[in-house]
Amino acid sequence: MVLTIIKYNAGNIQSVLYALERIGVEAIVTDDVQQIQSADKVIFPGVGEASTAMNYLKERGLDVVIKNLTQPVLGICLGMQLLCKHSEENDTECLGIFEANVKRFALDNQNLKIPQIGWNKVQDITQPLFSGFNYEPYCYFVHSYYAELCEETAATTFYGVKFSSALHKNNFYGVQFHPEKSADAGERILKNFIALNP
């Protein structure tokens, strides 16, 4: 199996690579179109700012490449948000795989600190990303923007508002949290993604 991690100007790629190593999976980090298209599975990571990341992808034609992938694709954090329709972060048009819009956590709730940093419960979990979970796992989140609930919501989390902590449509999957930093629960989610049929 060939697993490709899309290389672009948004951090945390090393962490994803190391997490995969820990579960015994080798991955290629690349921005080469051919290598991305021919992979059995693709991980689209990301920590950073939406418009900068989208511009980078567009300049290299990766926006079109990602949209047309037919193998399982997992977007993580900003990667997931970029798979959505639109982000309030610098009013950015995203890739439009998922119906959800990405919004900023509202500041009017006094007890809400932004970004959300830490472990939160992932609820309403669905197959196949959460297969084997007989409990609602806590996962590690770091984000100021969230994907709204939509038909493609595959898990929810509450932080002042209930949002999509996972999304799933056809071959596209997304998680708002960082499975690569979410201890045993995160490793299981990564393994579930790896185990998907191409």
Binding site: S15, Y18, A19, R22, V47, N120, V142
Partner: protein, 252 residues
């Protein structure tokens, strides 16, 4: 619901974990990578690695150590000590650090906080403050690992740093550090309730009740401790179970 976080801190000197009392009398507490991996397995929510000699001896944090930690640990970790430039941070993040903490260098050059937040995002910029309550009852900022007093008050500096882009505050009370007499509830509460970013309380945690107090009374978002974990005085699973029983949101 977002949980409160329990964060073991590993103070690093010459590649070993050390722990002292009130910033002096350092004792060896083991291999940082092994200790970190053990804490992760026990349910620690995050780890902090501080190269405590870095600023004083002008050493750079060892990126090799960071790389080794990143390979072996499946929870987030912060690295601090001697970080004074965007380049320093870039190297550490490339080696797998999730966040970096800045202290003295940021105080001397507040623009650094702004530059780091712009380059890497606020989420990975932790401002560490060592603070001490003086006889006038005010909390002052100390630099260089607690060796140098300033005339600047803790809250003012914390607020300025958040405005510049710091994403979290790691607050260490020098009065409490190493004493095991409890966290500094007053200054922790002031920061936690008036700043828009999470506050990690550090210094003084000696009993499980101290952690209850810092979460319930001071509203800290996370609590950090070192020696009680290193010397096995409190086990992390026991602590988290106890806190959960006190109705504090915990990842179990």
């Amino acid at each position: 619901m977002l949980t409160k976080r329990i964060i073991p801190c590993l103070d690093i000197k010459d590649g070993r974990t050390v722990k002292g009392t009130n910033f002096v009398n350092l004792r060896d507490a083991g291999d940082p990578v092994e200790l970190g991996a053990m804490y992760a397995k026990q349910g620690a929510d995050e780890l902090v690695f501080l190269d405590i000699t870095a600023t004083v001896e002008k050493r750079k944090t060892l990126s090799e150590l960071v790389n080794k930690i990143a390979h072996n640990i499946n929870i987030p970790f912060t690295v601090g000590g001697g970080i004074s430039s965007v380049e320093d941070v870039s190297v550490l993040l490339q080696n797998g650090a999730d966040k970096i903490s800045v202290n003295t260098s940021a105080f001397k050059n507040p623009q650094l906080v702004n530059d780091l937040a712009k380059e890497f995002g606020s989420q990975c910029v932790v401002l560490a403050i060592d603070t001490k309550k003086e006889e006038d009852g005010e909390w002052y900022v100390y630099l260089n690992g607690g060796r140098t007093k300033t005339e600047i008050k803790c809250f003012g500096w914390a607020k300025q740093a958040v405005d510049l882009g710091a994403g979290e505050i790691l607050l260490t009370s020098m009065n409490n550090d190493g004493t095991k007499q409890g966290f500094a509830l007053d200054i922790t509460k002031q920061l936690a309730e008036n700043l828009a970013v999470p506050v990690i309380a550090s210094g003084g945690g000696g009993t499980m009740q101290h952690f209850v107090d810092v979460f319930q009374q001071a509203n800290a978002d996370a609590a950090l401790a070192a020696s009680i974990f290193h010397f096995k005085e409190i086990a992390i699973p026991d602590l988290k179970q106890y806190l959960k029983e006190q109705h504090i949101a915990m990842r179990m």
